[in-house]
Symmetry: C2
Subunit: 238 residues, 2 copies
Amino acid sequence: MAEQAGTLRRTPLSRDRILRAAVALADEAGIESLSMRNLAQELGVVPMALYKHVANKDELLDGMIDVIVGEIEPLVPGADWQQTLRRRILSARQVLRRHLWAPLAIESRNMATPAVLAYLDSMVGTLRAGGLSADLAHHVMHALGSRILGFSQELFDASRQAGRSGATEPEPAAGLPPEAAARFPHLAEIATAASHDDGSVVGQGCDDQFEFEFALDLLLDGIERLRQQGWRSAHRPG
Amino acid sequence: MAEQAGTLRRTPLSRDRILRAAVALADEAGIESLSMRNLAQELGVVPMALYKHVANKDELLDGMIDVIVGEIEPLVPGADWQQTLRRRILSARQVLRRHLWAPLAIESRNMATPAVLAYLDSMVGTLRAGGLSADLAHHVMHALGSRILGFSQELFDASRQAGRSGATEPEPAAGLPPEAAARFPHLAEIATAASHDDGSVVGQGCDDQFEFEFALDLLLDGIERLRQQGWRSAHRPG
DNA sequence: ACCTGAACACCGTTCAAGT
DNA sequence: ACCTGAACACCGTTCAAGT
């Protein structure tokens, strides 16, 4: 679309409009394409105009993180703590799947924007209301880590080994390339072993959603067991 | 130290020397200070000289990751799978604590260098030798995620809320700032609740090592329980 | 054939000159 | 007072000119 100068004035710039445009740009073109200059051009504006609304690029990233945290399903009370946490975390995961740049952005930032803190605070509230001690709740928050926001650092993705970034690639089959399979026999074995539903999906690659829920439930079940046992953290060696 | 030209020739450039210098530079000045130009200057060399030994910056980062993976304690057989994994993962954690830039570098890369794959392969070998099915081992690798390499994404660090990067800061006390504590009461409560050894450390902040081991053991214990039960992943809904 | 300076196409951000 | 072009101090990488 060609720029129409003069006749049609663009909607005025605002912090909110900048943040939404930044999120959209990162969604479509990847975080590495998100520069102040690119963003300004996308908005039909001179780069310096952005600096009236965000102090610098770091603040822009913080604002973008707040935008996506705002997309997470709000707290719905009524169920037990496990179900409440589980549902909200899986909602966060759905959000993160729309914004693949977010994990990297979150890790690169120093974190702790008010919106993230509010989210974490409500999660702790759920734990406390569920009967966990403050002590246990503290450790649980650490143990869940980034999973609370719906993502996890996956080192292990047998299929991708030399591919490019590909935010929009449709999962290019599974299994290791032959020469890698020869060097790493254990990886080769388990790469094809992810028979999630009775073997019908063998070789088709693994189900991210299943893996996420598997790990999440492993943690939640272990935590509930500790809660039932009245666990206390006074067992340091030394 | 002033440059001595002519009389003393520098040791010749090599891929290995470049990688070690890059790791040292990232350790000392942070990953954001690691540029091809800075690195070249550190080595007393013109920037273009680096490109004879590494194709580009991405390959440099991959090489750096391989260097630190090489620092992880090799496999020592003899113990059960839990002890073997636990020891190696805690060794990896010690390595990562010397190279604070590594998690971000690992996340920013597409991963799967041969050295990382070899490490993962040997970890899977430990699981299989310990009696886990290939199926379960697959899910376990996903569930452990970056913890296999000794780090985890911690969203939750109650103390740091507005501080700067600070790779060398000595942990600036604990507890939330007063105004944050008022807005986020649950966070405030658990921030001071990390009484790791019988209350004597209350208020001093939390023990990263304890939190890491807590989460790791929660996972390992849960996995061992599944193994004992002969768990199989055929219970998908639908 | 090898090495390397200059150049290219970018960054985030400052600053002073225009209105 | 506000806006913005040019400029500054960087990037990673290419390329052609030097030896």
